[in-house]
């Protein structure tokens, strides 16, 4: 039962990331929808732990890159080294060759290094030295960036942000969660001993199940109305792209699957909308709106068909 597996995953992750069920669920949905995830938050709220937990739970091969301003593309994708024994260049794959890549503080790297990663995200393959290497399957990137610290950073432009299916933030834990965190065991220990929840092939069946979630004509009407309003309606100066529309639908499917349903409801679309549309929309007016306010503005302007 894909939905039962999905619930088990959510519960297991929430045992470690305390008080962040919604964010955890969004991150899971993002992965089930086969999208890349951008976590935007201050340090220390559990971004890295979340990535670790997901990798462990899903049984994915994990790599981490700490982005710095002196980083080169070769530090990400790998480098060809001259081998003296057989007198030829041999490609040494970089950390990008992983199933789940954690790109920490992606906005610290120069645009050149960023684009090397973002190309890999889009193409799911690496071209170097005139050769092409396929990245492992599945391939996910969880990137983090710190919005508060803007000195010496290179914020991702819109075109790059669009590559991420979702952008979420975790935020401080509430009081009870914080208490449990303080009183509990070391998170790193917990993650290290976290058993893999999935059997071989179960992840693929989850992907398949997410793709199979039913989307009726009435829901397509609704999604279209949302897209149209974001483009032509009042209140938005930058609307949702067709890719954003596809992503919205895929994310809503995964969200419905996590909710144990075989069909998508408008509620599913509305639930994933802040994460999917928050980094793609821009509101009119001078004050920038947060993703939740943006999504609410869009949702409340479009009646259900």
């Amino acid at each position: 039962m894909p939905s039962r597996i999905a619930r088990r995953l959510t519960e297991a992750a929430s045992r470690i990331i305390l008080g962040k069920e919604h964010a955890v669920r969004l991150a899971l949905a993002c992965i089930l929808a086969r999208g890349h995830l951008l976590i935007e938050d201050i340090p220390g709220v559990g971004k890295t732990t979340l990535a670790h937990v997901l990798a462990r739970l899903l049984g994915l091969q994990f790599q981490r890159i700490q982005f710095t301003s002196d980083m080169l593309p070769a530090d990400i994708i790998g480098v060809s080294v001259f081998d003296q024994r057989d007198a030829s260049f041999r490609f040494h794959p970089g950390p990008v060759f992983a199933q789940l890549l954690l790109a920490d503080e992606i906005n610290r790297a120069t645009p050149k290094a960023q684009s090397a990663l973002l190309e890999a995200m889009e193409e799911r393959q690496i071209s170097a030295e005139g050769q092409t290497w396929r990245l492992p399957e599945p391939f996910f990137v969880i990137a983090t960036q710190n919005p508060a610290d803007q000195i010496g950073t290179f914020p991702l432009p819109e075109s790059q942000l669009d590559r991420f299916l979702m952008r979420i933030s975790l935020g401080y834990p509430d009081r009870a969660a914080e208490r449990a965190l303080l009183a509990g065991e070391d998170r790193r220990e917990l993650v290290a001993h976290l058993p893999t929840e999935l059997q071989a092939g179960e992840l693929d069946s989850l992907f398949e199940a997410a793709r199979q979630v039913h989307v009726g004509p009435r829901l397509l009407d609704y999604v279209q109305a949302l897209l149209e309003h974001s483009r032509a309606g009042a209140g938005f100066s930058l609307g949702l792209s067709p890719r954003a529309g596809l992503g919205l639908l895929a994310a809503a499917r995964a969200w419905a699957l996590l909710g144990g349903r075989d069909h998508v409801l408008p509620e599913d679309v509305q639930a994933v909308l802040p994460a999917v549309a928050g980094h793609r929309l821009r509101a009119t007016g001078d004050t920038p709106l947060g993703p939740d306010a943006l999504a609410r503005r869009l949702v409340e302007a479009v009646p259900l068909p």
Binding site: H214, L219, E267, A301, P303
Partner: protein
């Protein structure tokens, strides 16, 4: 100042042009040309996107328009100068119109000018043109209101609006309390000259009337129409003769006929065109009817001059004997001849009297004499001398029906038989399209009546002696082919006649039901709807009711179109409505599960069963089709029973 889009100006110009074009038929040519010029100029500006003329130039042109109207009419008051002034000002207004407010003012003026066309004519063509103008003006209003749009969808929207207004228009037309009188007449129009018979007759008068093809009246008979020889429609009866002209004698009037109608009855509906006279041109001899006046010369009269189209239900009794016990004074009058005129005719009369054994034979002898004289029937007789009857009978021997009638009456009087001239109409044509008898001015006729002891007044038509086909076949049949005839009275162009018949039948309907919709017709209609009492109060109430029904119907129709289509949505809407009534409305954007969740949080005791209903709805609405039948049934059942506490 917000400037107008090009399509908005285009609609405005089209509407104004369609409104002003029909006015060209009665506006002075200078004003028409000026209006056309101004419209073309504005169109040019719109096309090129150039600037509007300066205000001072506009003021100058306005003064020019005012001057032109003054020059043409010497005043501003009255229909003609008023319409001319408005036409000029509407065209000028367009040249300074570059804002919504000005454009709306111009549209309003266009609407008024569309009504203005009816002050001149009220036929169907004018109505169609005015409707076209109204359509363009509505299109303009839509263009002013909305975004730029192509012509076709905008025109379709305007047409739809017009159609939607149709029921309300009908209600107002049928039920708005009517006043007696023509709908569009101005006081000055009512007394203007109308062609037709007058109450005196000189030689040539009837021939002049005959040259017009205009319709005098129509008659729709119940059953077969009478044969042509019975179709004598009585107008003025002329007794007094001063040697030149014939005038009516003094006559008594009462509200009952001066005879006992008997014999075959021919009921018919007479629709009389306005002629500003009292006489009603009834067919001989009308039976008793309420509200009308009867003259002792057997005419049917109305109390008021006929100034608008009049519709009467009448019965004719052609075989009625009339004037059996005639007043001696009338007979005296019917024997008088002015001294010193027409000596040869008087001699003829005396000869006839001597030749006849009996007074009763004299008319027949005179007719025989007329026939033997080979008198020619023509619309354009040769000029006559001072003794015109003598001149006609013995010299020129050419005349129209009034010559025949006058000569016959003079002859009778000279022979000692009381006689008089009767004018009116004879014949008419059956329109094969709708079966009505159409009588035109070209059917105007004069004939004679003689009075015989014990037989009363008898009709004698001396024209028939020389031109018998006039009576049976109408004017065109009786005249030689070369005669000048109104185009529409000619019988040698069958296609033209067929076309005329068809157009006339439609016109008749229009006259009867649209223009002739008067208080009487309104009463009939309301009575036929089952409302007996028809004071203006009940009419107003009916109108208000009708308006409410029409507007309510339209509103329902409009609402029905935005209501969700299928049964699942209807049930869910009902649930939402009931919750809204209980104070928990659903947001338009709120999904069913979120809504149920919110209600469960905010007011859990209100609707415990809502959660399952909402889940069912969500599955039915958004789940894979086809929906589970038992689920559907359960959803409809629970949602119907759902009552928030």
């Amino acid at each position: 100042m917000p400037s107008l889009r090009r399509d908005q100006v285009g609609w405005l110009l089209a509407g104004s042009a369609l409104t002003l074009a029909p006015h060209a038929s009665h506006l002075p040519p200078a004003i028409s040309a000026l209006c056309a010029l101004l419209l073309v100029w504005r169109g040019f500006i719109n096309q090129r996107g150039s600037r509007l003329p300066h205000r001072s130039l506009l003021v100058l042109m306005a003064a020019g328009v005012v001057g032109a109207v003054l020059l043409e009419f010497h005043q501003f008051f009255g229909k003609e100068p008023g319409i001319a002034l408005l036409a000029g000002l509407l065209s000028l207004k367009l040249l300074e119109t570059d804002s919504l407010r000005d454009a709306r003012a111009a549209v309003l003026l266009s609407f008024f000018m569309q009504l203005g066309q009816f002050l001149y004519q009220q036929n169907m063509a004018i109505a169609a043109i005015a409707l076209l103008g109204t359509f363009a003006s509505i299109g303009t209003l839509l263009a002013l209101q909305g975004r730029a749009e192509a012509f076709a969808p905008r025109a379709a929207a305007a047409a739809r609006l017009l159609l939607q207004a149709l029921p309300l228009m009908l209600v107002l037309f049928l039920l708005f309390p009517r006043v007696q009188g023509p709908l569009w007449g101005l006081p000055a129009d009512a007394h203007s000259a109308v062609s037709g018979l007058s109450d005196d007759m000189r030689p040539g008068d009837i021939a002049r009337v005959s040259e017009s093809g205009a319709i005098a009246f129509r008659a729709a008979f119940e059953g077969d129409p009478p044969p042509p020889a019975e179709r004598y429609w009585r107008g003025p009866v002329l007794t007094r003769f001063d040697g030149r002209s014939w005038r009516p004698g003094p006559s008594r009037r009462q509200d009952q006929p001066f005879y006992q109608s008997s014999g075959i009855a021919r009921p018919y509906t007479l629709t009389l065109e306005p002629h500003n006279q009292h006489w009603l041109l009834a067919m001989d001899f009308p039976g008793p009817a309420g509200g009308l006046v009867y003259g002792d010369d057997f005419r049917l009269l109305s109390r008021e001059p006929v100034r608008s189209r009049l519709r009467l239900e009448l019965v004719a009794h052609p075989a009625t004997p009339v004037g059996l016990a005639e007043d001696p004074r009338i007979l005296q009058e019917a024997l008088a001849l002015p001294p010193g005129f027409n000596p040869r005719t008087r001699a003829l009369g005396e000869r006839l009297r001597a030749a006849a054994g009996h007074t009763e034979d004299i008319p027949a002898l005179a007719i025989r004499h007329f026939r033997d004289s080979r008198l020619a029937y023509t619309l354009a007789p040769a000029p006559l001398s001072r003794d015109d009857v003598d001149s006609f009978l013995f010299d020129t021997r050419q005349g129209f029906c009034e010559h025949f009638a006058a000569a016959f009456v003079v002859t009778m009087r000279a022979a000692g038989v009381p006689a008089r001239v009767v004018t009116g109409y004879q014949g008419g044509e059956i329109n094969p399209v709708d079966g009505t008898l159409v009588v035109r001015q070209s059917d105007a006729h004069a004939w004679a009546e003689v009075w015989l002891e014990a037989r009363g007044w008898l009709r004698v038509d001396p024209t028939a002696a020389s031109a018998p086909r006039r009576i049976d076949g109408g004017l065109a049949a009786a005249l030689p082919d070369t005669a000048r005839l109104p185009l529409l009275a000619r019988s040698d162009l069958p296609w033209l006649r067929a076309l005329r018949d068809r157009v006339d039948a439609v016109n008749n309907r229009w006259n009867q039901w649209v223009l002739g919709y008067n208080p009487a017709r309104q009463r009939e209609l309301v009575a036929s709807l089952g409302f007996g009492d028809t004071g203006w109060q009940s009419l107003t109430a009916l109108m208000a009711g009708g308006t409410a029904v029409v507007m309510g119907g339209l509103t329902l129709w409009a609402l029905r179109r935005v209501r969700p289509g299928d049964a699942i949505d209807r049930s869910w809407s009902r649930v939402c409505r009931r919750l809204a009534a209980a104070g928990h409305p659903r947001h338009a954007w709120e999904g069913p599960l979120d809504y149920a969740g919110r209600i469960a949080r905010e007011a859990p005791e209100t609707a415990p069963e809502l959660a399952s209903i909402a889940a069912d709805y969500a599955r039915l609405r958004y789940g894979p089709a086809p929906a589970d039948a038992t689920l559907l049934q359960r959803f409809h059942h629970t949602s119907r029973k759902f009552r928030p506490r």
